[in-house]
Symmetry: C2
Subunit: 192 residues, 2 copies
C-alpha cells in the first residue's frame, strides 16, 4: 500500500493513521514540534491539524509538497460563534490550500467523519465512509484504496470544487454535535 | 396534529404527504393547474415543487402566505451541469423565499431526504431523519412533531442561515446519486 506521512498527533491523526496502518500502509507521524524539520517521507501527506495551523505548515515545507498528494481534513469554522466558516463565501480551505501549493495534488477528505467513527469504522451500524474531493483522479484512487484496505469505505465525491459542499457538511455535523442533536460517535452515515 | 397543504403532486409531494398523514395531520394537495385558485387551507404549506416553480407560487398567493409556516424543500441545482447551485453564492433558496415572503415563517426541510427514503422511513437501516432549518422555533417544533408522529425522525438544524448547509448537503447527495456512487434509496443517514 501507500507510504503516508501524517502531520499532527491528535485524535484525528491517530484515528486516520489507525485506519491506514490497518490497511497495510506505512504510516509515520510528524508532531507540531517537529514540523519543518522532520522530512515528508510519504507520497501522501495528511495534514491532520486544525485549520489555523495550515499556513505554518505551508510556510515550513513549501515546495517539498510538490508532486505529493496533500490531504486537507480541516473544518474551517469560527469556533467562537459556531455560526459561520472563516474561509471566503463559496470557497473552501482545500481550494485555498491548492492555490498555495499549486504543484501538489490537494485532496479534501476525512472532514465529514468524526475521530470516533473512524476508529470504530462504523456510524449507526453502517460502515464509516470517507468522502474524497479533488482534481487528481489517480491521487483520489490511491487514497481511497488505502482507506478501504483499512476497513473503512471511501467515495469519490467529485472535483476539488466539491470541497465547499464537504466543508458545509462538516460544519453542519459539528453544529449538530455541539448542540447535542447528535453524538460525537454518530453523525452522517452514507447508505449506498 | 397540524393542517397541512402541499403544493405539488409529484414523488416528493406524495412521500411527504404520506408521512404527515400517517402521523394524523390533515393533508390536502394543490396541483400545478390549481395553483393560485385553490385556497391555502393549511397552517403549514409545503412547497413540494422544483426550485424554478417557486416564483410563480409566490406571485400567485403573495400575502396569503402571511402568518403561515411555509416549507421550502428545493435543491436549487443547475441540473444541466450538476456542478453548481443557481442561488447566489453563500445564500439559499430558503433565504430568497423568506425575503420574498417576509410575513411568512419559512422553513427549510425535506431537501436532504430522497422520496424513497421518506416513503420507506429508513435509510440504510436507520430511521430517515428530516433536517429542519428556520428562524421561528414554534414553527420548527410544530413541523417536527408532525413528522415524528408519522414515523420519521426530525432534527432542528438551526437558524434559516443553515439552509445554505442543508442545500449544500442536498446538492452533494444529488451529485452522488446521479453519478451512481449511492442509490436513490440511500444517501445520508443521521446516526444520533
Amino acid at each position: 500500500m501507500a507510504h503516508i506521512t501524517i502531520i499532527g498527533t491528535g485524535n484525528m491523526a491517530n484515528a486516520i493513521g489507525g485506519v491506514l496502518a490497518a490497511g497495510g500502509s506505512t504510516v509515520d507521524y510528524i508532531s507540531q514540534d517537529e514540523t519543518g524539520t522532520a522530512p515528508l517521507n510519504g507520497d501522501i501527506v495528511v495534514l491532520a491539524v486544525p485549520y489555523p495551523a495550515l499556513d505554518a505548515i505551508v510556510a515550513a515545507y513549501g515546495s517539498q509538497f510538490d508532486g505529493k498528494t496533500v490531504v486537507d481534513i480541516t473544518n474551517p469554522l469560527n469556533f467562537e460563534t459556531f455560526d459561520a466558516l472563516v474561509v471566503p463565501v463559496g470557497s473552501s480551505a482545500a481550494a485555498e490550500l491548492q492555490a498555495k501549493l499549486p504543484a501538489a495534488k490537494v485532496l479534501k477528505a476525512f472532514n465529514t467523519t468524526f475521530a470516533a467513527t473512524l476508529a470504530s469504522k462504523q456510524v449507526g451500524g453502517l460502515q464509516t465512509t470517507v468522502l474524497i474531493a479533488g482534481d487528481d483522479a489517480a491521487a483520489k484512487t490511491q487514497l481511497a484504496e488505502a482507506i478501504t484496505a483499512g476497513g473503512v469505505g471511501a467515495i469519490d465525491a467529485g472535483a476539488l470544487t466539491r470541497a465547499h459542499e464537504l466543508e458545509s457538511l462538516g460544519f453542519l455535523q459539528l453544529t449538530l454535535a455541539a448542540s447535542e442533536k447528535i453524538g460525537w460517535t454518530g453523525g452522517f452515515a452514507v447508505a449506498r
